[in-house]
C-alpha cells in the first residue's frame, strides 16, 4: 500500500464508475497499472464491493431501519468473533461493529416496518446465548451517510465571472 494506492482508493470512494483511462489521468499512472493495482486491492480484500450511496427516505420503499446495541458476554478463546459471525449471517443485519463504551456490538437492521424489526430482535437476537441486553433505536431520519450529506441545502449562487 503506497501513496498511489491511497489516491486510487480516494478516487474510487468518490466515484467508482470511472473508466480506467480517466482514473489513469487522475492518478498520473498508466491505465495498465491502474488495472493491476485495483486488481491487487480487490484481491487483498481492501476493496470489498462497488455500491451506491442511496437516500432510502427519498426512495420511499417503506422500509425502516434501526440501530441495535448489544451487551454480549465474550467467549473464552474467541472473544466476540463467533457471535459476531453468527449475527452477520442474518440478511436483515446491514452492518455490525464492535465498539467501546456501555455496549459491545452495534448492528444496523432494516425491515419492512417496526413490528418486523421488533420481532426480529425479540425472536432472534435477544434470545441468543451470551446476549445480555439489547437497546433498539429506530432511525427517524438520515442526514449524512458515508461522507455524503442528504440535506437539501440551498446552494449559494456563485457569480459567473471574477478575475
Amino acid at each position: 500500500m503506497d501513496e498511489k494506492d491511497l489516491l486510487i482508493l480516494q478516487i474510487l470512494e468518490d466515484n467508482s464508475r470511472l473508466s480506467r483511462d480517466e482514473m489513469a489521468l487522475m492518478a498520473e499512472l498508466e491505465p495498465d497499472e491502474i488495472e493491476t493495482r485495483i486488481a491487487a486491492l480487490e484481491e487483498g480484500g481492501v476493496i470489498r464491493n462497488y455500491t451506491a450511496v442511496i437516500d432510502w427516505d427519498k426512495a420511499v420503499n417503506g422500509e425502516v431501519a434501526a440501530i441495535i446495541d448489544l451487551k454480549v458476554n465474550p467467549e473464552r478463546d474467541y472473544g466476540y468473533d463467533r457471535i459476531a459471525d453468527r449475527l452477520s449471517r442474518f440478511r436483515q443485519v446491514k452492518s455490525l461493529r464492535l465498539v467501546t463504551g456501555v455496549y459491545d456490538l452495534q448492528l444496523m437492521v432494516t425491515g419492512r416496518n417496526m413490528q418486523e424489526i421488533a420481532r426480529f430482535v425479540s425472536e432472534y437476537i435477544a434470545p441468543m446465548d451470551r446476549v445480555r441486553e439489547t437497546a433498539t433505536h429506530i432511525i427517524m431520519r438520515t442526514y449524512k451517510e458515508y461522507g455524503h450529506s442528504f440535506m437539501d441545502r440551498e446552494t449559494t449562487e456563485r457569480i459567473p465571472y471574477s478575475l
Binding site: 487522475m26 457569480i159 459567473p160 465571472y161
Partner: protein, 387 residues
C-alpha cells in the same frame, strides 16, 4: 453641475468583462469556468471557530497590524513551508485580502512618475493600483514560448532609469505558470543590479503540483528588497472572509502600516479568527483540496489538448490557459460565442494584458462533473466552427 469625477478615476479602465457578466446572468444552465475562486466551501471547522468567536462577543476592532497569534502562526508557517523569516511584530500586517495588501504596498513605495514593471498576463488590479498611486505601469509580457514565466531578457528591455518596482505573481493567475528557484535567480540578479523593489503576490503558493513553491524573498538577496503578499482566499477556500497579509522589511512595512491604519484600520476580526483556525488546524483539508485540484487539472488539460485547444500543463493555481488560435477566432470572439452558443463562461486572455491575447482562462475550480460537461460543450462548439 461640475463633473466631479477625478481624472485618476477616469483613467483607470472599466472591467474588461462587464458585458460578459451581464450576458451570463440572463442565461440558464451556464457552466462557469470564469470564476477565480475555489468551488469548495470553507472547511467547516474554520466556520465553527468564527461562529463561536462571534457568540463570545468577538466583534471589535483588532490592533492595526492584526491579531498577534495570527501573525505568529503565519510567521511560523512561512518559515516551515518556504524558509521565509519575518518578524510577526515588525515585518507583517494582516490585510483585507491580498487586494488591500497590493494597494498599500504600491502606495507605500511609488511616487508620481515612477515606473512600475508589471509581468503580464496578470491579475487585473496591478496596473490600476499603480495608476491610482500616480505611478506608470510598464507591462512586461510573458509568453507561451517561455511557459509564461518572466523572461529576464524581456524584462531587461523594459527597464529604464525611472524603473522602481517590479510586480510578479507566481503561481500565476491567469496562466498557472510557476517560477522555480532557478528561474527566479536571474530575476533576482536583475533586481539587484538595477536596484528594483519586488512586489511578489504569492496568493497561490500552496497550489503547486510539480514542486514546492519558491518564495521570491528566499532567492539571492531579494529579501531586503521584496514585499511578499499572500493570503487565505485560495489555499483555504476563504475568498469571502477577506484575509491576506503583507510581509516586508521593517521600514517598508511601517510605511504600509500607516496607510493601512488610515484606510482600513484593521482587517475584519471574524475573518482573522477564521484564518487562525485555518492555519493551525486546516492543513489536512487544504491538502485534500490541493489533491483534488491536481486530479481535475490532469483530466481537464488533457481534454483541452484532445479537443484541439493546445495548452501546456500549468504547474500551479487552478487555471488552464489554452490557446484558441487554431479556431480562427480571437480570444474575445471565442469567449463571447462560446458563452452564447454553449453557455460556457471562460475569460478572454487579453483582459489580463497583451501577453494573454489569443488565449482564454479556464478555472478548473469547479466539480469534476461540471468540468466534464464543459468539455463536451466546448468540443461540440469547436467542431461546429471548424472550416
Amino acid at each position: 453641475m461640475k463633473d466631479f469625477i477625478s481624472k485618476r478615476a477616469k483613467t483607470i479602465p472599466p472591467s474588461g468583462i462587464r458585458k460578459f457578466f451581464d450576458l451570463a446572468l440572463t442565461m440558464e444552465e451556464v457552466i462557469s469556468l470564469g470564476v477565480g475562486e475555489p468551488d469548495f466551501c470553507t472547511p467547516w471547522n474554520i466556520c465553527e471557530a468564527s461562529i463561536y468567536s462571534i457568540e463570545q462577543g468577538g466583534t471589535a476592532y483588532t490592533s492595526n497590524r492584526g491579531l498577534q497569534p495570527l501573525r505568529e502562526a503565519i510567521s511560523d508557517s512561512l518559515g516551515k513551508n518556504y524558509g521565509l523569516s519575518y518578524d510577526p511584530d515588525r515585518e507583517m500586517i494582516i490585510t483585507t485580502g491580498v487586494s488591500e495588501g497590493l494597494d498599500i504596498a504600491v502606495r507605500a513605495v511609488v511616487d508620481p512618475g515612477d515606473e512600475v514593471l508589471v509581468a503580464e498576463p496578470c491579475y487585473v488590479s496591478y496596473s490600476p493600483c499603480v495608476t491610482l498611486a500616480g505611478g506608470i505601469p510598464v507591462p512586461v509580457p510573458c509568453s507561451g514560448k517561455d511557459h509564461f514565466r518572466l523572461n529576464p531578457d524581456v524584462l531587461m528591455e523594459r527597464i529604464t532609469a525611472r524603473s522602481k518596482v517590479l510586480i510578479i505573481n507566481f503561481p500565476n493567475n491567469p496562466t498557472g505558470a510557476v517560477m522555480r528557484r532557478e528561474h527566479l535567480k536571474a530575476i533576482a540578479d536583475i533586481a539587484t543590479d538595477h536596484d528594483l523593489l519586488l512586489i511578489s503576490d504569492e496568493v497561490y503558493s500552496e497550489l503547486t503540483y510539480e514542486s514546492r513553491h519558491t518564495a521570491a524573498a528566499t532567492v539571492g538577496d531579494l529579501r531586503e528588497r521584496t514585499i511578499t503578499l499572500n493570503g487565505f482566499s485560495k489555499a483555504y477556500a476563504m475568498t469571502g472572509w477577506r484575509i491576506g497579509y503583507l510581509c516586508a522589511p521593517e521600514d517598508i512595512c511601517n510605511a504600509a502600516l500607516k496607510i493601512h491604519q488610515y484606510v482600513m484600520l484593521c482587517a475584519p476580526v471574524m475573518g482573522q479568527v477564521a484564518a487562525l483556525e485555518g492555519i493551525r488546524k486546516g492543513e489536512d483539508e487544504k491538502d485534500r483540496m490541493v489533491r483534488e485540484y491536481r486530479v481535475r487539472r490532469n483530466v481537464f488539460v488533457d481534454s483541452l489538448n484532445r479537443i484541439g485547444l493546445s495548452c501546456h500543463l500549468p504547474e500551479g493555481a487552478f487555471y488552464a490557459f489554452p490557446s484558441v488560435e487554431k479556431t480562427g477566432m480571437n480570444d474575445v470572439e471565442f469567449a463571447e460565442t462560446l458563452l452564447k452558443e454553449e453557455h460556457v463562461a471562460v475569460v478572454p486572455g487579453s483582459v489580463f494584458g497583451e501577453g494573454g491575447m489569443n488565449h482564454v482562462r479556464c478555472a478548473y475550480a469547479v466539480s469534476r462533473k461540471e468540468l466534464k460537461e464543459a468539455i463536451v460543450r466546448m468540443e461540440r462548439f469547436i467542431s461546429s466552427h471548424r472550416g
